[in-house]
Amino acid sequence: MVIGGGIAGIQAALDLADKGIIVHVVEKTPSIGGRMAQLDKTFPTNDCSICILAPKMADCFSHPNTNVITYAEVVGVEGKAGAFKVKVLKKSRYVDESKCTGCGECLEKCPVKVPSEFEMGLGVRKAIYMPMMQSVPRVMTIDKEHCLMTLKGKCGNCKKACKREAIDYEMKDQVLEVEVGAIIVATGYDVWDPTTSTEYGYGRYPNVFTAMEYERMINAAGPTHGHIERRSDKKRPQKMAFIQCVGSRNPQVGHPYCCAVCCMHSTKEAMLAREHHDDMESSVFYKDMRACAKGFWEYVERAKRDYAVRYVNSDATVQENPENHNPIVVYDVGGRQQSEEFDMVVLASTLIPRKDTIELAKILGLKLDQFGFLESTDRILENGRTVVPGVYLAGYCGGPADIPESVAQGSSAAAKAVETLVQAGV
């Protein structure tokens, strides 16, 4: 079983399924794809993220050896390596997955608008929804917290609109029992909410965004159709600031670690701003430019040379010009304080383990490190092997990792799982 349907989990599942092993993939949200599906492009090649991910999502779902259970969570585990019994709570989506084709006729008729989680709250979705265009499986889900029918028993528009009679308001949550030989945990990360670090003004100053919000904004399929817009006046910015290490490398907020991907994603985001408009001027305020994997430093050099990205080696905080809501970045050059007005600020907010990792760790008997990442027994040679035999880790839930590292960890966890199955004689 693979818990988490992001890129690490998908890779682990495909590696196992391709070896002829039956894999159950349990995904909490209505669609697999995870964080990578939210990103616009990927460094250092500027490949479109969803374009390279979507085929993998489709493969993962349609593989004859996989059973993808979406909108579901692991609620209990018994047994040992080679013979685990896993309880999976499959939440009712009030839509029959075997009938829904994802045509979207119901969407137009649904009267309820809700901020979209997938769009980081910048866009809206309906109470019946698919998180994104490329959702896998391509079926709708009714959010019972907001649906008028499930809340008050009034409406029923989607049922009327659905020609395939896929809507079932009486659907109940189910608990499935699944027997598996090994478990791979790949639950990924959350974006830290920088509201509490008041020095950045996030949540107070309208034109301060998090990097994940910006990723959705520059995506053609995103809430602004790829237009970069200020929150205050919907105008397009021309002068952008990217601030690094927001909430990371910062013991005061409990994350002294480096999130390992922000230097690169900010560099990419600054480049993309310039790709969108020739007159975009971006400045990146950084502590150390950690561009240290294959092709990364060359990528930063390219950003400077071909995209006129300016790098400023300084901590930075944000104030605001109250007249025009322009954020003012305060930084330091050779011990002297400087301030500079920008049209928009993007915060490279740190990445933290998913909130429910603690709960899952309890269920599985795993250990957490002091920051809440799932711990490996031996960080040197056995990264991804946990204290529980038969349970392995992949991706960001075990500590900072970028996409290729997560993919490698997915395959690596699959190898460890197969070793276990072979040795258990399964």
């Binding site: 590696d15 391709d18 070896k19 084709t101 480096c258 080696n313 011990g335 690596s412 040795q423």
Partner: protein
């Protein structure tokens, strides 16, 4: 098993299924009229529209159509083959029709979605697309996918941590593995090192269990003092020649190959006084001194980062050197006495590394105090209780400290707590190493303070990048896998296929694909093992049915196709003509496009089919 229809010589009987996709297509394209139009096209004997062709009733209508109307070709006009072709092909097969007799026409992404505001034109374009599909479908022929058996054994090249981990993982999965190591012992680059991360254990102690497991494993055939001398074949069917010093060459049949040949450290000839002044050593040399407990007496050590990397000599960042330097800095601050040379302790001077301490403790103390004041944020040096080796001062000259992730960053913080100084420099002001009399000196520009500074040092440690093995090129040619500009092997896809090569059956891990720390190497190694185990566990590979075919009557044996093939799927046969290795061919068509004689065609994408499709596109209706 349903009977396959051999449709090659039959008169085409085409069925067209046009999908509404709810309103996705139906809202913008007049689907019923498009379906009616399809009936008028040559050889179309049946046409209908479905609300959702992909839903169970839609699929049933395809099966029903094949049966009732004796269809030998099926066209679905709907969405994208990327997500739906396997479904429709499987449906055709379940009704006894060869899946290559199926044609996909995309009238959603290619039509309705991009022409939402031009309904008439969208309907017309849908008709055009279907007409083209029909023209091609008429000329289709059934294809068979060959199954190629896979020898469930592997060869791993390189006996460092990566190679050993990969070999062990595959061996634990039950596959026999040949592990080929050039040296007389296992361990690779790690054998040079003192310790790994900041651990008490020595590096060789850390990897000892791994070496023992590899040596004892019944599935691992260890070949020390050996090299891969030759490779023939393709995925599942390689014959490799392993040459061992003082022994006859061994031929082995394997299904997969894992490359884990590692890297070397860059030698900074002519940089920062290396090989010119005493006591200027590379990071690895420094580790060896520590490991062998031959460190001279030191009071003041400087590490210079990025020597020869990040745009100087080499373009890349070597990822690991900052963290290795930090580890060593902590080691000497904490544990200096234990690394001192035995000869040093007895008062003898170690050769090549004369040791003289020039600065008195008093001067050192003053400097330390002054720097402490300048740095401001960390307070006065004298207030801080120093570690056991309070007399040693370590400075790390760096451009950016690459202490990424959790562990490295915390170690970096620990180093700063231990008063290791980190001084930033830029490429505009490189530090200079020189001699002043008998004293080794460093001149540098303090970037934060914007001031010129000099300091005496007893030893300068140059952090140089990892570089590819000098003979990686030969291996790359032997296996026909690509080597990047910087001398590291190039994976199939930087994001999503980090340990695969584009050529099936060959995989890569560890520092031979780029700088990586030991944890990352081990992870990549078991990832490569996982990838290699896929064809070995299946026991076969399903070859593409859509491959290139060589017409020997036209082939001149020029070999151009062999050069351009990205998958190593072409070779010369005994007659000197090009021959396609079906198991390795991906049907990309590069060879066909390049062949000067027009001797190579692609099955299912023949010139005749493509021309018919093009003509249909240009046809006036």
């Amino acid at each position: 098993m349903a009977e396959k229809k051999a449709a090659a010589n039959e008169k085409p009987r085409i069925g067209v299924f046009v999908c509404h996709c709810g309103s996705n297509i139906g809202g913008f394209v007049d689907v019923p009229s498009v379906a009616e139009y399809a009936k008028t096209l040559p050889d179309v004997v049946y046409s209908t529209d479905n609300l959702y062709t992909c839903a169970e009733d839609g699929l049933a209508s395809i099966r029903e159509g094949i049966r009732k109307h004796d269809l030998n070709r099926v066209i679905v006009a709907s969405c994208t083959p990327r997500t739906h072709a396997p479904l429709f092909q499987a449906t055709c097969e379940s009704a006894g029709l060869n899946k290559y007799m199926f044609t996909f026409v995309n009238i959603r992404e290619h039509c309705s979605w991009v022409h939402m505001k031009e309904k008439d034109k969208a309907s017309k374009k849908a008709k055009d697309l279907i007409r083209m599909g029909v023209a091609r479908a008429r000329l289709l022929e059934p294809q068979e996918e060959a199954k190629v058996e896979v020898t469930p054994a592997s060869v791993v090249v390189g006996g460092g941590v990566s190679g050993m981990t990969a070999a062990l993982s595959m061996a634990d999965m039950g596959f026999p593995v040949h592990l080929v190591e050039r040296d007389g012992e296992l361990g690779g680059f790690i054998r040079n090192l003192n310790n790994l991360y900041v651990t008490e254990k020595s590096a060789s102690e850390t990897i000892k269990p791994l070496i023992e497991k590899v040596k004892a494993h019944k599935n691992i055939h260890l070949h020390l003092n050996s090299q891969l001398k030759g490779v023939e074949g393709f995925i599942g069917n390689y014959e490799v020649v392993i040459g061992t010093k003082g022994a006859e060459d061994l031929k082995a049949k394997v299904g997969t190959i894992v490359i884990a040949t590692g890297a070397l450290e860059f030698v900074p000839e002519g940089l920062y006084g290396y090989n010119q002044y005493p006591n200027v050593v590379t990071l690895t040399e420094f580790e060896i001194l520590c490991k062998k407990k031959t460190l001279p007496k030191l009071k003041n050590v400087a590490f210079i980062q990025c020597v020869g990397s990040r745009g100087q000599v080499k373009s890349y960042c070597s990822r690991i050197c900052c963290n290795v330097a930090i580890k060593n800095a902590i080691n000497i601050v904490d544990n200096y006495e234990n690394m001192l040379g035995l000869m040093e302790k007895s008062g003898t001077v170690v050769e090549k590394i004369p040791v003289e301490t020039k600065a008195t403790d008093e001067i050192m103390e003053r400097r330390r105090r002054r720097r402490g004041r300048e740095r401001g944020e960390e307070g006065e040096a004298e207030e801080v209780k120093l570690g056991p080796s309070e007399k040693i001062e370590v400075t790390v000259f760096n451009r950016d400290v690459m202490a990424y992730g959790v562990e490295h960053e915390l170690t970096y913080n620990k180093a700063r707590e231990k008063r290791v100084k980190f001084v930033r420099y830029t490429t505009d002001h490189l530090p200079k190493v020189y001699m002043e009399g008998n004293q080794l000196m460093i001149a540098y520009f303090h970037e934060t303070l914007k001031l010129e500074r000099t300091m005496p040092v007893d030893m300068v440690v140059l952090s140089t990048p990892l570089v590819g093995q000098p003979d990686a090129g030969e291996l790359s040619q032997m296996l026909k896998v690509p080597l990047g500009q910087e001398g590291f092997f190039l994976e199939a896809h930087v994001k999503l296929r980090p340990v695969d090569f584009a050529t099936d059956g060959i995989y890569v891990c560890g520092t031979c694909r780029g700088p990586a720390d030991i944890t990352e190497c081990a992870t990549q190694a078991s990832a490569a093992a996982s990838r290699a185990a896929i064809p070995m566990a299946k026991g076969y590979v399903q070859a593409e049915a859509l491959t290139s075919v060589v017409d020997e009557t036209k082939c001149s044996g020029c070999g151009t196709c062999i050069q351009v093939c990205p998958y190593g799927a072409l070779r010369k046969n005994e007659k000197g003509y090009a021959e396609v290795i079906v198991a390795a061919c991906k049907g990309c068509g590069c060879c066909g496009a390049t062949c000067p004689e027009g001797a190579i065609t692609m099955t299912n994408y023949t010139d005749a089919q493509l021309l018919a499709e093009s003509r249909a596109a240009l046809e006036e209706v």
